[in-house]
Amino acid sequence: KQWYQRRVLFFFFFFFGRIMMDDIQTSEEVAFVVEDVTNIIKESIEVTLQQASYHHSKVGQWTSNVVEQCLRRLTGLNKPFKYIVSCIIMQKTGAGLHTASSCYWDNASDGSCSYRWENKTMYCITSVFGCMI
């Protein structure tokens, strides 16, 4: 009888402990972490554009690649978010470019992040918006 009681207690604490752990993990991990997302964007751009020079026929493919890589890595974070990624590649000719965004959402759970990259021939501005489900 003692052995049985001990096993019941063990299972009870084991499962209760696991549930507690999961709760703590979810509250810390489920948030839009700007640093992680910035790193993801940075890596995606560097992998795609590396040392490329602006070329009109390739830009379309580059922007698609950057956006797809970003999305793939963002899904790898395994968070309950809907993501919108937008990428602008512009040739350097001395022209001015401005970007602005405004969002109607829940500030506590949602977030956005933007990263600007350049080389000698072009600028690349990528923004990621994340909405928690």
């Binding site: 602008i88 512009m90 965004s101 405004s102 969002c103 829940d106």
Partner: protein, 128 residues
């Protein structure tokens, strides 16, 4: 209703996972509104670097206010506007979303005149 400021309100689940069909994000209607707003604001404007920042933030807030007036319930709205000078450069804008195909949508409009170009994108994400 008596509201005690220290009281925490807990709402029960509605168990609704889809938006009301009449209140789904209507991309066409939003696109028309965006088109009108951008056109009236930028039609005969010339690119001016010092004014561009104010123009673009005004545009963002105006578009957002107008989309909010449509009362798409439980939708989160994201507006992104890009404004650039026309100097013969090449520019490519691409965007992709990881969302619910049936409920979420977007509307975009691009405008250009002799001295500037503008691209406005509005995204709507449903929160169940």
């Amino acid at each position: 209703m008596d509201d005690n400021p220290g009281e925490l309100r807990v709402y029960e689940n509605t168990y609704i996972t889809q938006p009301n069909p009449k209140q789904k994000f209507n991309a066409e209607v939003v696109r028309k509104v965006v088109e009108e707003t951008v056109y009236t604001k930028l039609d005969r404007q010339k690119y001016n670097p010092s004014e561009a920042t104010t123009i673009i933030s005004d545009l963002c807030s105006t578009i957002q206010d107008q989309v909010k007036q449509f009362s798409f319930e439980r939708y989160k709205i994201i507006v992104q506007v890009t404004l650039g000078e026309m100097k013969g450069e090449g520019c490519f804008i691409s965007s992709r979303g990881l969302w619910d195909q049936q409920n979420d949508s977007y509307a975009s409009y691009s405008f250009q005149n002799g001295s500037l170009f503008c691209v406005a994108m509005v995204f709507g994400c449903y929160t169940p």
